[in-house]
């Protein structure tokens, strides 16, 4: 679909959101081509929200087969989907959310994709992949001016990490002008303010022990939100074990997590009290309402990144599993 001329049908369907972000944003959305890598608990929440928002196309890249465990927490799947290729199995229900979006299923392994596969997209979203793939994608994205956001849910904890390159955005601000005329109060006008955020490359953000990345990039570690280090610990667990922590091996996995934490706090020269070990207990499984929260936050960042409307999160979002505060943390800039 072209960026021009939103039809009356679209205007009616998207009315309530156009009233929030404006028609120009809607036109940019409907020109956007989005790649989603992995459509599991968190992925299906993200897919739902961006399909509803009215993008041009969504490609779902997922090489897994549907398990019973996956089926019960993924609203795009039914019992009949079990054993089938996930990317294909989600198509009917995903498409029914918004018939105007072109949806493509791709069942290949993302690691085996050629670099040029990724060039065609406006933005790439990843969930549940290892850090080396995220960093590899980031390099490809940077060359091709494709935006990237990566997110995960570990139990009650969730986060996202974005590289929106040199991102320009606009936001509306209401200004009150003092009124010269009598007692009728002041006059308000809405002005558009332009801003820019220069995102750091992700190899300056996701730094683990035993990697070749530059240690110079580690700055201000003491003042960091402790949950950033919980995020690194969980990601490193996945990098080392090829899976997330599992409740069936809870005791062993917590021991592994503690060892990883130790090496991370050593690298960053911080105290182990930066976050409580008890948070590991909260990090098992993909909790559906937490997926809903992260899916909402990540989809909103995608919408903002594509439409250049409203300030984006720079560059990490961390959901506190205890207080439910959700905060921005700027790392690597």
């Amino acid at each position: 679909m072209s960026e021009q001329s939103l039809s009356a049908v679209e205007a009616e369907l998207y009315d309530r959101q156009i009233r929030l972000w404006g028609i120009e944003s809607q036109e940019k959305l409907r020109a956007a081509n989005v790649l989603l890598i992995n459509c599991r608990g968190l992925g299906c929440e993200i897919a739902k929200n961006i399909l509803l928002s009215g993008i041009n196309s969504l490609t779902v890249l997922d090489d897994s087969l549907v398990t019973e465990e996956e089926q019960i927490k993924n609203f795009f799947l039914t019992k009949e989907s079990i054993g089938k290729k996930l990317a294909e199995a989600i198509l009917p229900k995903a498409q029914s959310l918004n018939p105007l979006v072109k949806i493509t299923a791709d069942c290949e392994n993302p690691v085996e994709k050629n670099a040029n596969f990724f060039e065609a997209f406006t933005i790439i979203i990843t969930t549940g992949i290892k850090t080396d793939l995220v960093l590899k994608l980031d390099k490809i994205c940077r060359i091709n001016k494709v935006k990237l956001i990566s997110g995960d849910v570990f139990g009650m904890f969730g986060f996202s990490v974005a590289d929106f390159l040199n991102h320009e955005y606009y936001e509306d601000r209401v200004q009150m002008l003092p009124k010269k005329r009598t007692q009728d109060g002041s006059v308000k006008t809405t002005i558009q303010v332009k801003g820019q955020i220069d995102y750091p490359e992700l190899n300056k953000v996701l730094i683990f022990p035993n990697t070749k990345q530059s240690i110079d990039a580690i700055k201000k570690s003491n003042r960091r939100n402790g949950l950033f280090f919980l995020m690194l610990t969980l990601l490193e667990f996945r990098n080392e074990n090829g899976r997330n922590p599992q409740i069936s091996t809870k005791t062993d996995d917590i021991e592994k997590l503690k060892i990883i934490k130790k090496s991370i706090v050593g690298l960053y020269k911080i105290s182990t009290s930066i976050f409580e070990d008890s948070l590991f207990e909260q990090s098992f499984g993909e909790v559906v309402p937490v997926c809903a929260i992260l899916g909402g936050v990540i989809a909103q960042e995608v919408i903002k990144a594509v439409s250049h409307k409203e300030i984006t999160i720079n560059n990490i979002f961390l959901l506190d599993p205890v207080t439910f505060n959700g905060k921005e943390e700027c790392v690597g800039a």
């Binding site: 001329s5 039809s7 009356a8 679209e10 009616e12 369907l13 998207y14 009315d15 309530r16 959101q17 009233r19 929030l20 028609i23 929440e45 739902k48 929200n49 509803l52 928002s53 019960i72 927490k73 609203f75 039914t78 959310l97 018939p99 139990g155 009650m156 601000r173 209401v174 200004q175 009150m176 005329r181 009598t182 109060g185 308000k188 809405t190 409740i247 098992f284 499984g285 909790v287 559906v288 309402p289 937490v290 809903a292 929260i293 909402g296 936050v297 989809a299 909103q300 919408i303 409203e310 300030i311 984006t312 999160i313 959901l319 506190d320 439910f324 505060n325 959700g326 905060k327 943390e329």
Partner: protein
């Protein structure tokens, strides 16, 4: 064997509480759909849904349990079918009904472990608040508006209730501003809606559109108003319009030329204002290019562009003609933002008036937002808030109430790191709350000489105090003033309060059986003095009436703001008003973070906004 859907991080005890819980979801709109999905996928097995609404196309961008083929069907019914598709093994019951109906009494509420509100209006929220207090069932209240939202637990004896803090009232505009001295687009839009009602709608003397010669500002030094010299027609606008058979040229010249000429004679009004410039039909229709009024599919040209004066005049004439035909054979038309001729008429008239008063003209799209009080709604905010609702539900089921402090979703700002901001502790109940305190008490200020018993019941007890079917007796005298039994006190309806011995100092005992709510009302005789004084007032402490003004101009719902920005090391705070915040004009230094409490969806009719 069935796989366990309950989150493994919850622990055995909590997981069985989830499986045993019976949950009521009130509202299957934007937040409701998301909440229901989360419940069905999190192992809840017994869910009831109640919603009065049917599905509309403009719901489909976020109410994802519904699809195009469902438009027109009841939300509760379709929501039930869809979540049973996610998990066919659970029990889901749907009610296509209003939660304020008499059928859903305290005993109905008592059967639930937890009530989750996903409503779009304050009256229903107030009602469910009272029902949950009466049944002593924990309630999780939620709402979104644009990018913002909030989630809050309400539990009798533990937290504040939904009505503990007075809510800011809708912005009102003085009659003289609307009729004589508009200065913002909204003033002209309100005027245009009044004009619609004067010509085609239900007649309402409070919606006069002609110049107001009683405007105190217009009075000359010797105190004379212009009433005696004016040429204001004594017959009603409607009558006159019918006499001239809705001739568009004559109507146009009356409202946009003659009335404006008359306004210009009130010279005092224009001493410090730019005077309006009257415009005649002939002038408006020759001004600029001759534009065709036609429907086309390009929204940018029809709805997003500001129409020329010429086009406004053409649309005015065309819609007057259409509406006149619609009116024939009926008593009156009801204005609706989704009804095209009515919406076009209001857009045209508001813009012509704006042009006359040198106010910025608006597109049809923006006019519709203001005229229909549309609160924008997006899928992502609803998803985030609904996720928090169910996380709170896990804790509330375990009676971990102290871990359920309110959480606010905010539009991301350059000046804060917070997207989700949680209160540090629960908000405590207001000890003199007229709903949840042990002996609820409130003062009302009414004109006891003129207000009838029926008006008292409708305007004060039902609209202001949100009762459904009140019984009222004179304290200590056993005189029944109002009975909830049909017809029992009909004879009192048209009596004034004085005639029923309800005077200054009278105490009334009110009882709403459905809400299990008893309230003592102290009656204060009060007469509106200034033209724009309210007709009546309601307050626990009379002093609160003064404070109310401050709340209106300040914090969103009068709550003390947790200061979350303390730890941020970046920029200093600035005065900034986000566009979606209805509390614009706020004098507070720090940006207010609580979202407006009327939520997810649609509309408060604009009529409430006026006086």
């Amino acid at each position: 064997m069935q796989l366990d859907r309950t989150p493994c991080v919850l622990g055995e005890e909590a997981r069985s509480l989830v499986k045993e819980a019976k949950i009521l979801v009130v509202g299957a709109g934007g937040i409701g759909c998301e909440v229901l999905k989360n419940l069905a996928l999190s192992g809840f097995q017994d869910i009831e849904i109640i919603d009065l609404d049917t599905i509309d196309v403009s719901n489909l961008n976020r109410q994802f349990l519904f699809r195009k083929e469902h438009v027109g069907k009841p939300k509760a019914v379709v929501a039930r079918e869809t979540i049973l598709g996610y998990n066919p093994d659970i029990k889901v019951k749907a009610y296509h009904d209003s939660i304020t109906s008499q059928e859903y009494g305290v005993n109905f509420f008592k059967q639930f472990s937890l009530v989750l509100n996903a409503l779009d209006n304050r009256a229903a929220r107030n009602h469910v608040n009272r029902m949950c207090l009466a049944a002593d069932i924990p309630l999780i209240e939620s709402g979104t508006a644009g990018y913002s939202g909030q989630v809050e637990l309400i539990k009798k004896g533990v937290t504040q209730c939904y009505e503990c803090q007075p809510k800011p009232t809708q912005k009102t505009y003085p009659g003289c501003t609307i009729r004589n001295t508009p200065s913002e687009p909204v003033h002209c839009i309100v005027w245009a809606k009044h004009l619609f009602n004067q010509l085609f709608g239900e007649e309402d003397p409070d919606q006069d559109v002609s110049p107001d010669s009683e405007d105190p500002e217009a009075k000359t030094e010797d105190g004379h108003s212009m009433t005696d010299t004016g040429n204001v027609k004594r017959i009603s606008t409607r009558q006159w319009a019918q006499e001239i058979d809705y001739n568009p040229t004559q109507l146009f010249n009356k409202f946009f030329f003659e009335d404006i000429e008359y306004l210009l004679k009130m010279e005092n009004l224009w001493k410090s204002r730019k005077p309006p410039v009257p415009i005649k039909w002939e002038e408006a229709t020759t001004d600029g290019e001759k534009t065709e009024v036609k429907d086309d599919d390009n929204i940018k040209n029809t709805d997003m562009k500001v129409w020329s004066i010429n086009k406004c005049a053409q649309v005015f004439a065309k819609t007057v003609d259409v509406l006149k035909k619609e009116l024939s054979g009926r008593n009156f038309l009801v204005w609706d933002k989704d009804d095209q001729p009515g919406m076009d008429f209001v857009t045209a008239c508001a813009n012509i008036r704006s042009h006359i008063f040198s106010i910025q003209m608006q597109s049809k799209f923006s006019t519709k937002s203001i005229a229909g009080s549309i609160i924008p709604a997006i899928a992502t905010a609803n998803a985030i808030v609904a996720g928090l609702v169910v996380l709170h539900a896990f804790r509330a089921l375990q009676e971990q109430y102290e871990r359920c402090s309110a959480v606010y979703l905010r539009r991301k700002s350059k000046f804060s790191k917070f997207v989700l901001a949680a209160d540090n502790e629960l908000q405590k109940a207001n000890p003199v709350c007229y709903v949840c305190s042990p002996k609820p008490f409130v003062n009302v200020f009414v004109n006891t000489n003129t207000m009838t018993v029926k008006e008292f019941e409708n305007e004060i007890l039902k609209k202001q105090l949100n009762m459904i079917a009140p019984d009222v007796v004179l304290d200590g005298k056993f005189v029944v003033v109002i009975s909830s039994e049909e017809g029992e006190t009909q004879a009192n309806d048209n009596k004034t309060l004085v005639e029923m011995s309800v005077v200054e100092g009278t105490v009334l005992k009110c009882d709403d059986f459905l809400q299990n709510y008893e309230l003592q009302i102290a009656v204060n005789h009060y007469e509106a003095k200034e033209k724009d004084d309210p007709l009546f007032k309601v307050a626990v402490n009379p002093e609160d009436l003064k404070a109310k003004e401050d709340i209106k101009n300040g914090g969103a719902n009068g709550k003390k703001e947790e200061n979350h920005d303390e730890d941020s090391d970046d920029e200093p705070t600035i005065v900034e008003n986000p566009p979606e915040d209805p509390q614009e004009g706020s004098s507070s230094k720090r940006r207010k973070l609580n979202p407006p409490e009327d939520s997810d969806d649609d509309l408060i009719v604009l009529d409430e906004i006026i006086e």
